[in-house]
Amino acid sequence: MNGIVEVAVRCQGLEKRYGDVVAVDGLDLEVYAGECFGLLGPNGAGKTTTVEILEGLLQPDAGELEILGTHWGTDDRALRQRLGVQLQETQLAEKLTVEETLRLFRSFFDRGRSIDEVLRIVELEEKRAAWVSRLSGGQQQRLAVACALVSEPELLFLDEPTTGLDPQSRRGLWDLVLDFKASGRTVLLTTHYMEEAERLCDRVAIVDRGRVIALGTPGELISRLGGEHVVEFALANDDPAVDNWLRHVEGVQDVRREREGIFLTVREVHRTVPALLSALRRHDVELTSFTTHHASLEDVFVSLTGRHLRDE
């Protein structure tokens, strides 16, 4: 490592266009050294384009960029020595074994871990002699991450590392990321799973249409909703007019309507729910479903954009 860098990644006014389509539209970011930073947003929000620009794989149309205290175009190979990269949807060579694949990637780096050590970290020791094509989806994804870890990078990029994985494989990968972060290194990951961002990320930037629309720790973002709980219910004879009096029920911060029903953001469930039930009785409206949950980044995203993370 070349000393301690306070800011691992900094970019300002990043822009990237593909013809008429604006993929990244003036995006600003600051990732601190030693944190796990998440770019959270729906598909097509510009997350992958942003990450690939930061990785030096794409040329931005405009914007300032600083990675580990240096810039692309000065000594790219030296900079790449310090990065670990996992791209979305890379298929590694099918007819190489796990060990051969890792040895190939390891050979590109001046320093790094031994193959045995990496195999242990990603728990693929038993698959070391298996062809890549014979691995399960979760194992292939762990191998992709392993290829990014062979060099012991200072900064690790993970682009949708758990998309398409079963819950168990997903949790296995989360542990990997948490261990990596625990060693004091920096992670920048993209995801459209709010649970993943909440579990792994110290700070999250919510990205939509190529811009950062909210930034902070998961807790901060959720508390900005004005309440930390969501009351979700549906009515037998629904009438948009009910919104008018719902807003005035004690402790209700926000009312929004979804296909599934009505969502209230509330600060204190134990005060709002009794008030809500008596108001419903007063207006003679019948409930068909009723649940409450802790507010999540999904609720933050919906309240900011009116859309869901997993729309489209």
Binding site: L83, V85, L92, K95, R103, L104, F109
Partner: protein, 345 residues
């Protein structure tokens, strides 16, 4: 822990291992050319006394005429109806049909060399039987030693064809697949040198080139007694230049293609003229003079000439420098162009 091994070595090793784990590739590169050589070698073997099949159409004295012609070792004559004769002549089973009569008529296709030959042999036989005497005494000496047969011509031809095919397909498919799977992009995200990646293809071709030469030349030697009259070392040098030139051309054709279908089309377009014109199966001298300058600029043509010159004529490398220069120029130019326009994403 410091660098474990050289990236160029690891990349080349990966290429070789991947190829060896691809049964179809093994078939096309090693088995198919040997089968082709075996099949063509048998079909076009030099038969000791190849006799021409002659039809004698029914008519006065047909049976006697047929018997007389059949007594010549170079001819096999069959009496048949005019309709049968016409049919067999048309389908190439007969070289010539004799229609007996007061004046004998020869029916044959003058554009077939077999027909021309049959006309001369049959006429000779009939005139001699009718009492013609040859005033001049001649003697013959027959050339049958290895080196002058079709298989001697064919083996170097197939060797060149194989160096071209495996260079182009082996490299083109692999690269386009790696591009489509975004593996090229992933490699670009490492500190790997791009030149190492491209060079690894050349090096793996070098390894397989030795095996390809050994398979075909060994097969020719064991089965058909095809000898390498020049030095084996010279043959390998010519093959190296050829293999690397087509590796360059393979890289160039694959440098921008996004799909396997796309690259297949480009490769067929590039290779087809050489299949036809460069003299793999027959001499390019058969093509009109106007085409010759074009034929000579195709990279496979000088490669085949050089391979045959070493294998058949036993010529030294020094006699082939101009040819090798043309082949190498193709390699250098296409490699250079490939590096310039190569698309990693």
């Amino acid at each position: 822990m410091n660098r474990s091994s050289s990236p160029l070595w690891e990349l080349t090793r990966a290429r070789v291992v991947e190829f060896l784990r691809e049964p179809e590739a093994i078939f096309w590169v090693f088995i198919f050319p040997v089968l082709l050589a075996g099949g063509l070698g048998i079909a076009f073997r030099n038969r000791p006394a190849e006799s021409l099949r002659i039809g004698v159409a029914d008519g006065p004295g047909a049976a006697a005429l047929a018997a007389r012609l059949d007594s010549f070792p170079a001819l096999r004559a069959f009496p048949m109806t005019p309709a049968e004769a016409a049919d067999e002549l048309r389908t190439g089973k007969l070289a010539l049909v004799v229609v007996p009569g007061d004046s004998v008529t020869y029916v044959f296709d003058p554009t077939r060399s077999e027909g021309q030959l049959a006309r001369r042999v049959v006429d000779d036989a009939l005139q001699r039987a009718a009492g013609r005497a040859d005033p001049r005494v001649v003697s013959e000496r027959h050339l049958t030693e290895p080196g002058s047969r079709y298989i001697d011509f064919l083996i170097p031809g197939l060797l060149g064809l194989n160096l071209m095919g495996s260079g182009m397909w082996g490299i083109g498919f692999n690269i386009v697949q790696a591009r489509r799977k975004r593996l090229l992009k992933r490699l670009l995200a490492t500190p790997m040198r791009k030149s190492h990646y491209l060079l690894s293809y050349g090096l793996s071709r070098f390894v397989f080139m030795i095996l390809e030469v050994a398979a075909l030349v060994g097969f020719g030697w064991v089965v058909f007694d095809v000898r390498v009259h020049g030095s084996i070392f010279d043959l390998l040098i010519v093959s190296v230049v050829g293999a690397l030139a087509f590796a360059g051309l393979g890289l160039l054709t694959a440098s921008r293609a996004q799909t396997v279908e796309g690259v297949s089309g480009i490769m067929n377009f590039v290779m087809l003229p050489m299949w036809i014109f460069s003299g793999v199966f027959f001499s390019y001298a058969r093509f009109p003079d106007a085409l010759q300058p074009l034929i000579q600029t195709l990279p496979l043509t000088p490669l085949l000439d050089a391979l045959r010159s070493v294998m058949i004529d036993g010529a030294p490398l020094s006699a082939n420098l101009a040819r090798l220069a043309v082949v190498a120029a193709w390699g250098v130019a296409s490699f250079g162009a490939a590096v310039k326009i190569f698309r990693w994403n």
